[in-house]
């Protein structure tokens, strides 16, 4: 991992087209601004990992019957 120190107002450029700007540092929280092309997704890491883990859990190998049985108990709106 490349480790760089930045002060408020300083930036890092990644791949010539992604910019990370340190907007504000308050206590142990850093406010970062990100400029990236529209097709480059940017997410908080822990949220991304949570979604990945949930997808993995959802992609169940449980039998169709088990799932259909429980889904029968979901009332339609």
């Amino acid at each position: 991992m490349l480790v760089l120190a930045r002060k408020t107002g300083q930036s890092i450029v990644i791949n010539d087209d992604i910019e990370l700007l340190v907007i504000e540092v308050r206590g142990d929280q850093v406010r970062l601004g990100i400029n990236a092309p529209k097709n480059v997704p940017v997410h908080r890491k822990e949220l991304l990992e949570q979604i990945r883990a949930e997808n993995v859990k959802a992609a169940t190998e449980a039998s169709v019957d088990d799932i259909t049985k429980i889904m029968n108990q979901i009332p339609k709106a």
Binding site: L47, I51, N55, K57, A59, E61, V64, T68, P75, K76
Partner: protein, 161 residues
Amino acid sequence: MEVRTLRFGVLQIPDESVITMVRGMFGFEQYTRFCMVNHRPDTSFWWMQCVDEPALAFVVADPTQLFENYEFDIPDSEVEELKLKSESDAFTMVVLTIGSGGKEVTANLVAPLVVNMQEMLAMQLILQDNRYQVRHLLPLSEPQPTVQQCDTKEEELAKVA
């Protein structure tokens, strides 16, 4: 085209019904082609079956069938990647997770799937707002008790009294 599936055997689907996910599903980024299997038309859920991996399928549902107030804005970047020209071309689905040993169903309201029905392009979004949960519990109706058959009208009235 032929789609081999773990759960439903071999399916024949029209080529144009394949949905292409711009970046796959989070955690399964290499799988981008899916088809919808309406296994139980009497329920509000479908299976989203991966065309290229027989074992990979998600249970998904139309959130308008399950919730009253679920709504979100699709960020401009995703509108562009989905090539969405009109809001009415967007169809939203949420991924359901069966948990707690098969006793619980939750919907992922933080990461909905948006499908552009015109282009058959889809993406899983991650919503930035804090309103929703990754595991939104769906209320389950009680399984109905078996109805006893009554031989006479008197017996029927006695049961209700």
